[in-house]
Symmetry: C2
Subunit: 210 residues, 2 copies
């Protein structure tokens, strides 16, 4: 996906790096898509989110999340070290600014995985980012996925589905919509790949500054 | 590239067909790119341009061009049967409207290959089309290509290069720029494929009406 700058308007200068925001309702499979892109060595800097929640079996600190204490997270909020943060279901999640800035400063594209509210915050700060909305192919599929995860009880699942219904309406604020259809993960991944490749060919590249 | 409509905003309706305009300076290789896409069975209706020029060895009437008499071409102009037409180097070239309308009415994406002036005309009629500018990687490469073609003499080649320099400046009116680098035809084709795929994922699809 990286290639020499060819756009005649760029005068031989490299195209600016992209900031790609991957969002969508809880349970839609943002993590699965992201992990698949990592496995396929997508040439992105994948920003690692900070959280105060408990590490789950199989998760790796600094890879899946930066797992920090509640106290440390609140210090990060107070000292404006986060691009965006939220308290979701009693858990803090936030994006350390330094990671995004560092990566973009070295010309690398950056991929953020955030919830729909977080995307709205980033849109205010960086409207020139590429906003991709990951959607389920149906509510049933979303319920199924939340149930399989088994870390939530039934009430929590229904609460999340209600939130998801609201979040789905936010699609109109995004640039692209990609469906993560059960059993077709690579279809979603390939669509995201095409979106990134197309954005690289824009005559007027998006200029993101944070 | 075709798939069921998934965009939540489309309410189960199929996304409208795309009108894709492939343009660029004379000699940049629009025909090579187009023929390669045809060979690869890109799911497009490739509009066949009408012309009054003499058929070249190896060309097929109704496939490479609709070869018509000068008299017939001028009748098509007078009766507004052409979406766009031009008199280029003493030869008429134009796009029959019925082909574009017919294809789009049946939901098929349409690909037009036209020169830079023609693209400007189509932009006025159909601003929601996808405008792709095919560019050479250098002027030398363009000169080389025009020379190899051997159907033009040296003066004609220099005249075309002068025109090409002007045409290159028109890139700023296009959505995307794709470089047709010598020996890397499939790179250009793949970038066009990605652009089309990405356009299919837009939250608000382009609505073209002619």
């Amino acid at each position: 996906m990286t290639r020499p700058p060819h756009n005649p308007l760029l005068d031989g200068k490299a195209a600016p790096p992209l900031l790609v925001v991957l969002s969508g309702p809880s349970g839609v499979g943002k993590d699965s898509v992201l992990n698949r892109m990592r496995d396929l060595n997508f040439p992105f800097h994948f920003v690692v989110t900070a959280t105060n929640r408990t590490i789950r079996p199989g998760e790796i600190d600094g890879f899946d999340y930066h797992f920090v204490t509640t106290e440390r997270f609140e210090t990060m909020i107070e000292s404006h070290e986060l691009l965006e943060w939220a308290l979701v279901y009693g858990q803090y999640k936030g994006i350390p600014k330094f990671e995004v800035r560092q990566a973009m400063a070295t010309g690398r594209d950056v991929m953020l995985r955030i919830n729909v509210d977080g995307a709205a915050t980033v849109r205010q700060i960086a409207p020139e980012a590429v906003f991709i909305f990951l959607a389920p192919s149906s509510t049933d599929e979303l319920r199924q996925r939340l149930s399989v995860r088994r870390t939530e009880n039934t009430n929590e699942i229904e609460a999340r589905l209600a939130v998801a219904a609201t979040e789905l309406k936010q699609v109109e604020h995004f640039d692209y919509v990609v469906i993560n259809r059960e059993g077709h993960l690579d279809e979603a991944v390939n669509q995201i790949r095409a979106i990134i490749a197309a954005e690289k060919q824009r005559v007027f590249p998006r200029m993101v500054s944070l």
